[in-house]
Amino acid sequence: MEKVCVLGAGSTKYGKLSDSIADLTTQASVAAIESAGIDPKDVKAAYISNVFGVADKQVHLGPVLMSNLGISDKPSLSIESACGSGSVSFREAFANVAAGFYDCLVVTGVEKVTHTGTEWTTTYFSYCSDFFYEGQAGASFPGLFASMARAYLTEFNATEEDFARVAVKNHDNGILNPKAHLQKKITIDDVMKSAVVASPLKLYDCCPFSDGASSVILCSEKFAKESGNDYIEVIGSGRGGSPAALQGRERMTTIPSTKIAAESAYKMAGITAKDIDFAEVHDCFTIAEIVDTEDLGFFEKGKGVEAVREGRTKLNSDISINPSGGLKSKGHPIGATGVGQVVEVFDQLTGKSGARTVKNAKIGLTHNFGATGASCAVHIFQSV
């Protein structure tokens, strides 16, 4: 297996954006190509992640991107795995470079939905659930994570204020990220007084619906070395699955796919959770970050909430969780999110993170899942 590296990374701003989905895809890809210091003609193929291209009247984004890059003869494909599309696409691109099929690829994730409004997004996102049992019965995504939150409150010593602390922390990080959607300081009181979306989750427990695109250049180690530019190594890649519906899981306070993917990624990297300096985890809702940090092995089950209460997941504390601001503050353009996490790790490990830099970081982890964690990918990166 070839060693795989990330040679360049770029993102548009996340938020309510006016550019088309095709333009966002191209802008992020150009940013990644320029960051890598390569010529578009070095790119052998594109992996695109996107869920709701139909909302902006453009699916089959790959050929549009390739035409815009002047390399319309190069192949491309699109991958949809709900909110986990970006990391799944990254994984497939990783596997192709590792196998030696390609020496340089662009992986670009994108989403453009904010123009559709809350009802459309709430409805269409619910199609990512096991629809017969969940979406059809009126379960929104906030509702499904709220069901996990209710189970967590019942099983462990946790409060709704504890969930709010996750939002406050991630907004504190997001303020330091010029590309974040919600660059706004909030307090526990703000979260507690925000409108209930799906009890016990309130508006500020939820990530925003965002537009945006992120892109990275993946290449072989030989290609990276010859480029002469900064790069990082992908040292672990793991994937896993969970029952599609919450009802099928033994416990609703854990996400099996995260554990499976993490175990596989740690094994490939030859490290444990203790070796991770910082992590970008899938905090679509505050409860998710707490569950994630337990399933990834940073804290014991039921103890993630104590870690948040004690400030142990803040920037430059025991383990910096979501230094970018996470989905909660940076935003969640669902097809882009998994790729955007890799952009953050690249920037962190190559000294481009400014005020939100995790000090002395050498190893970063990304964790991204689809739906309530029915599909998941974990990747581990190391500075060179």
Partner: protein, 121 residues
């Protein structure tokens, strides 16, 4: 009648169609085609009473399209009696957490465009 149609017909009678593996007797909801325990493909239908207790739930105040007129309502994961199976459904008329503590007894009472319909017992 397809399996899905039979599941819906049974839900309308307040019951749950399940699939019991003929080889290892592991019980599944009826959407499963291969046993998750032993991989076998043979199943026999087993009809359960649609009664149980609330395993977890949420009260939805920002609904998907079509649910505005029912809001607020609960989405409930029901732990079925005498099995390790859970099934999800819609429950009307729930507006605060005190209306539906975890563990509340509930049952299936129907099926319509809102999927499986649950009610407190």
């Amino acid at each position: 009648m397809s399996i899905k149609e039979l599941l819906i017909a049974k839900a309308k009678e307040g019951k749950v169609l399940t699939h019991k593996c003929t080889k290892c007797h592991h019980l599944h909801l009826s959407n499963v085609y291969y046993c998750e325990n032993c991989g076998s493909k043979g199943f026999e239908n087993e009809i359960l009473e649609g009664t149980g207790s609330v395993a977890t739930y949420t009260i939805i105040t920002v609904p998907p399209a079509g649910f505005e007129k029912y809001t607020p309502y609960a989405f409930v994961v029901l732990q079925l009696d005498n099995t390790n199976l859970r099934i999800s459904g819609f429950m009307a008329g729930i507006s605060t957490p005190s209306d539906l503590p975890v563990g509340t007894r509930a049952k299936i009472v129907g099926f319509d465009e809102r999927g499986i319909i649950l009610k407190k017992q």
